[in-house]
């Protein structure tokens, strides 16, 4: 009976509060493990097979920790609503760590909240925080997913038979362009004949356009599809239905394509969230900027699916080991797909070089255009 359940719950809450009050005497225990209440805000649904799910799965992994409690809110738009959601978590739920996971939450909303609540720690999931511009209790964290996309490319380069990979992308912004190029660079590192065919849909969530683009790419002879859109579900399912292979993005889509799934680029936000919770529990300062790729265990690839041949798995595993050791993806100058030199350094670039954050070109081998 629901009403019984309710009263039982409130009874339990009541006794828990009572127990907490009684244990106030035991200050030593409280001081050793400070209580962390994480408030996390998502821009879309928590089960979108994409960006939001990647965060939700990672934060859920912290639920088992004894000193951590989690409050979540999904479908919060990038308006004044997110400011109020964060304030509500702080005022009504006592959140002391706020994780704002959507790009547009940062400025002005999270910055304003950080100014208003200087005792609360705020962290935002994109490398936007700057020391002299933004409050000290705010900060950023980010996973360099391009590294996992590079691994996707390595596996795809050895799995493709037509040497054509299809990519459905939302908008031509830096982080998307970098993932597109990284798939191609990965594939070309093992198979120089690969080209990547690109279609932009124009927005983050346009399922009908994504399906059309996926079908067009399949029709053009691509035998592997991947994407950078909010929810990769449509592209992966379309690939499976067309009997071709697929590469995932953001979270695990392995279950959507039991026959054709090769591997996928996934964030490992868990590493970051766990370190935040630990720092706060120990009373240590939380780093303002936390970003990395394979070398810091902040990204991963989905377990290989039925679409990945043995050779592809071996090559991808070797490439992962290289990335963990910090070996460079870009070892020399890089050309764009119009023949101009886009990145001139003869020594290549470190994988986390900030120059790469502002990538604004499509690499040689990508069939498509930014404009």
């Amino acid at each position: 009976m629901p009403l019984d359940r309710f009263s039982r719950r409130s009874f339990l809450q009541g006794t828990a509060a009572g127990a907490a009050a009684l244990s106030l005497g035991d200050i030593k225990l409280a001081a050793a493990q400070a209580k962390v209440t994480i408030g996390i805000v998502y821009v879309g649904p928590k089960d979108d097979f994409g960006w939001n799910q990647a965060h939700a799965v990672s934060v859920a992994a912290l639920r088992s920790l004894p000193n951590v409690s989690i409050v979540e809110e999904e479908n919060v738009p990038e308006t004044a609503a997110v400011l109020k959601s964060m304030e509500s978590m702080i005022n009504l739920e006592g959140a002391n760590l706020i994780l704002a996971t959507s790009f547009g939450y940062f400025n002005p909303f999270m910055v304003d909240a950080a100014k208003k609540y200087p005792k609360v720690t705020f962290r935002h999931a994109a490398p936007l925080w700057e020391k002299d511009k933004h409050p000290a209790n705010a900060g950023s964290y980010f996973g360099y997913l391009d590294q996992a996309h590079y691994i996707n490319g390595v596996a795809a380069g050895l799995a493709t038979k037509t040497n054509k990979i299809g990519f459905v992308a939302a908008k031509p912004i830096s982080s998307v362009l970098r993932n597109i190029n990284s798939v191609l660079w990965g594939a070309r590192s093992v198979n120089p004949n690969v080209t990547l065919q690109l279609i932009f849909t124009g927005d983050w969530a346009l399922p009908v356009r994504e399906a059309e683009a996926a079908n067009a790419l399949a029709g053009a002879g691509c035998d592997i599809l991947t994407c950078h859109v909010d929810s990769p579900k449509v592209v992966i399912e379309t690939a499976e239905r067309r009997g071709i292979m697929s590469l995932g993005h953001n979270a695990s889509q392995a279950t959507l394509a039991p026959k054709g799934f090769i591997t996928g680029a996934e964030y490992k936000w868990e590493t970051i969230y766990r370190s935040y919770a630990d720092d706060i529990a120990k009373g240590q300062p939380v780093p303002n900027m936390l970003a990395g790729g394979y070398e810091k265990d902040m990204v991963r690839n989905t377990a290989y699916g039925a679409g990945a041949p043995e050779a592809a798995r071996k090559a991808a595993d070797a490439a992962i080991a290289d990335l963990k050791a910090g070996k460079r993806i870009l070892k020399g100058p890089v050309k764009d797909n119009k023949g101009a030199v886009a990145l001139p350094s003869a020594d290549g670039y470190d994988n986390l070089d900030r120059v790469l954050d502002g990538m604004n070109f499509l690499a040689d081998g990508v069939v498509g255009s930014i404009t």
């Binding site: 629901p2 009403l3 359940r5 309710f6 649904p45 409050v71 979540e72 809110e73 999904e74 479908n75 919060v76 738009p77 990038e78 308006t79 004044a80 609503a81 109020k84 959601s85 304030e87 509500s88 978590m89 005022n91 009504l92 739920e93 790009f103 547009g104 400025n107 002005p108 994109a126 908008k171 912004i173 830096s174 982080s175 927005d203 502002g358 604004n360």
Partner: protein, 373 residues
Amino acid sequence: MTDIARSASAASQSVFDSDWMIRVRRGSEALAIPIAALLVSALLFSIFLLALGKSPAQFYQLIWLGGFGTGFSWSNTLLRAAPVMLTALAVAIPARLGLTMIGGEGALVLGGFTAAAIAIPMIGGGAPIVMHVLMFAGALAVGAAWVGIAGALRQFRGVNETISTLLLSYIAIAIMNFFVEGALRDPADPNKPSTKALESVEMIGKLPGIDVHWGLVFAIVACVAVYVLMFRTTFGFACKIAGGNARAALAQGLPVGRLVIVATLIAGACAGMAGYFEIAAVHGKANASLASGYGFTGILVAFLARQHPLAIMPVAILFGGIAAAGGIIQRRMGLPDATVLLLQGLTFVVLLASETFYGRLTLFNPKARTDRT
């Protein structure tokens, strides 16, 4: 019965049927039916919650806490209510003329975008007042023009105004995206296409004593002004006549075409004003987040308020409160975000169904016949 008794009864009858009494009855009808509809939808929603194994008592308690229970909750609620009051006016004004126009979202987005675009060359220019006056005027003008287009199409070309306003909303969002991702994009922000942002000192501040921007005051003033215009002036009366029967209005010599155009312009200006405040007080720049559904919530609020400008204020606050409580309901009860939308939708349906009771209840209309068609 004696003569005296008969005349006494006649006298009481006439008091009972006096104008004043009828007005009280009609007035209480307009209050009692929506309140009953709200209660019925709350009841239906409780059954839904029980079926999910959740406690309705806890749910409504959390709505109270999250929407109205604390000072913080009130500011959260009013912040959400302010733009919705204005977009609801954009629906209610044409409704007086018998037009169902649902294009508030488009006028809000384009009005806001215009304000942001006007601001670009003046950011950091040291004349924020001039800048805000121009932004305000631009937002109102473009919002007015946008809904005015639908009014003109309706009047001169017979285009269905509901369809045209809806489609114009999508066109408005596309126009904003076109410029924000192209010519007016601020190169300083490589990842989220936006126009150049106002400096924080140039933004419109908060109301004294509460964490809500000035848009709330403007929205309330607009509701009252529209009430006076539509219910207390010859213009409003002419609109009502034209809305009741356009041919009869024409026969009376009323300029129906001009009334339609002027009313749709005013409606659009209200939504454009909401767009201005979103830019000037909340975002500081135009980007895709400007289209966040305030225009569509406004439709719901206007219908719930039965298109009455004064009723829009409490209804917008009620909806703002439900939306403000959405977060805490998710967090404390583990219900998905869509729960609150479901409650809103259910309320809307029950309220539309309750329309059938107007004029049929003998309690409010002593002479009403239940078989009236």
